[in-house]
Amino acid sequence: MFDAQAGSRMLYTGYLYTMRDGTLKRLINDSFQFTDIFPVYFCGPSFKGTLPLGACGPTTTARMEKFFPWLIENGFRVIIGKGSLSRNAIDAIRGKMVYWLAVGGVGAFYGERVKYYETVAYEELGPEALLKVYVEDMPLFVGVDKWGNKVI
């Protein structure tokens, strides 16, 4: 899937890590070591209601651009979020990390795709905790491919 071209549609089944502003700040401060590498989903779930994580759509990826070098250094190859990236960010990830686009503002729709999750770290951060999540048939688009081509 790392080779998929910008604009390709996919249904992802597998594990994800959820991260966002507060999570990434802590991970870097703590020099957190990952034993497994999964796609990183920029998301802060609502945790409430009758779905495992409640609503859990993507958050704005542009806010995470400053963390891209750390993600690349730590072996992450796929990031998932919503919205456009700066030209500099696209240049920085070209060939190293791809950006998959989730549809923003549809947290309930993505919540239905979550089958189970576990908290890996930082429970006290609430929606910003580091979670390992298993999703089935999560609709995504390739926003920026490994060659730096984009649809966003």
């Binding site: 604009g7 549609r9 507060g22 998301c43 802060g44 779930p45 609502s46 945790f47 409430k48 209601g49 009758t50 779905l51 409640g54 609503a55 859990c56 759509g57 958050t59 704005t60 542009a62 806010r63 919503k82 919205g83 456009s84 686009l101 549809v103 923003g104 503002g105 549809v106 947290g107 309930a108 729709f109 919540g111 239905e112 006290e124 951060l125 609430g126 929606p127 910003e128 609709p139 688009f141 984009k150 649809v151 966003i152």
Partner: protein
């Protein structure tokens, strides 16, 4: 009154405003790319999932602001209303999105302080607005001198809007507030979001400004739903409000609202 506010808050979190739904449907009837079509169809499906599972449309249930016209506010104790709304918010499965302060990023755990504003220009009206970060953080203010023309304003605003709106889950509604103090301009940009999509200002000059701004954005941006390149449905509407300004200059504030258009109002 409380029941009306509760109803508006529920709709803000669990329903897409009918005028935006009409706009989305009109986009789906047009010639759009497969990606943009799928995104818009997911928007509509999300509403069904949200209501079936009692999970808000978007996990970012944001900050809640309640607007009261001055005549309604006269008969209300604001602190009590704040408590009643805060208590109702706990039943809506909202995310704990608030931290203690901008400087101390500590999650408050149980949310939720609704912000209450009294609007002197409104009559017999209440409104509820839910601001998620995707839209809220793209808002901005520019300052102009007294000699600035409509053309100058549009020329300065459009590049900023084009840079920002693709991050706000388009199709977006754009609210513009002009004149008064910095605070007035910002508040007016929020109040403009209560306008219906497709409805322009009753003042002819302002209406023309809205139309010109909307045309300029659409002509100069190729971003559609979710900010997709080559999209057709990025900006649903522009609404502007104004108050008198100083002879020396004025502020123009711009607020965005995502496709959920979480600004609901009711006449009471």
């Amino acid at each position: 009154m409380l029941d009306v506010i509760k109803g508006l808050l529920y709709k803000s979190l669990y329903a897409i405003r009918p005028d935006m739904k009409d706009y989305i449907r009109s986009c789906l009837e047009g010639e759009i790319s497969d990606i943009e079509r799928e995104i818009l169809e997911i928007y509509i499906r999300n509403e069904n999932v949200s209501q079936s599972y009692n999970v808000p449309l978007c996990q970012d249930t944001g900050l809640v602001t309640v607007y009261l016209s001055h005549d309604i506010a006269k008969n209300i104790t604001v602190n009590e209303l704040e408590k009643e709304i805060a208590s109702y918010m706990k039943t809506l499965n909202m995310r704990n999105s608030q931290v203690t302060s901008p400087l101390v990023h500590e999650n408050m755990g149980d949310n939720q302080i609704p912000f209450i504003k009294i609007i002197s220009s409104w009559q017999d009206m209440v409104g509820v607005q839910v601001s998620g970060a995707g839209s809220e953080l793209q808002g901005f203010v520019l300052t102009f001198t007294g000699s600035s023309t409509t053309k100058d304003i549009i020329h300065a605003i459009v590049p900023e809007v084009i840079r920002r709106f693709p991050k706000s889950c388009p199709p977006v509604m754009i609210g513009v507030g002009m004149g008064g103090t910095l605070a007035d301009a910002a508040l007016l940009s929020k109040l403009a979001l209560f306008r219906k999509i497709g409805q322009f200002h009753s003042d002819e000059v302002v209406s023309q400004f809205e139309r010109d701004l909307l045309s300029a954005i659409r002509e100069q941006s190729d971003r559609g739903a979710q900010g997709i390149v080559g999209g057709q449905c990025g900006v649903a509407h522009v609404a502007a409000e104004y108050v008198p300004s100083h002879i020396a200059g004025f502020h123009v504030a711009v607020s965005f609202q995502c496709y959920l258009t979480r600004s609901w109002w009711s006449h009471v």
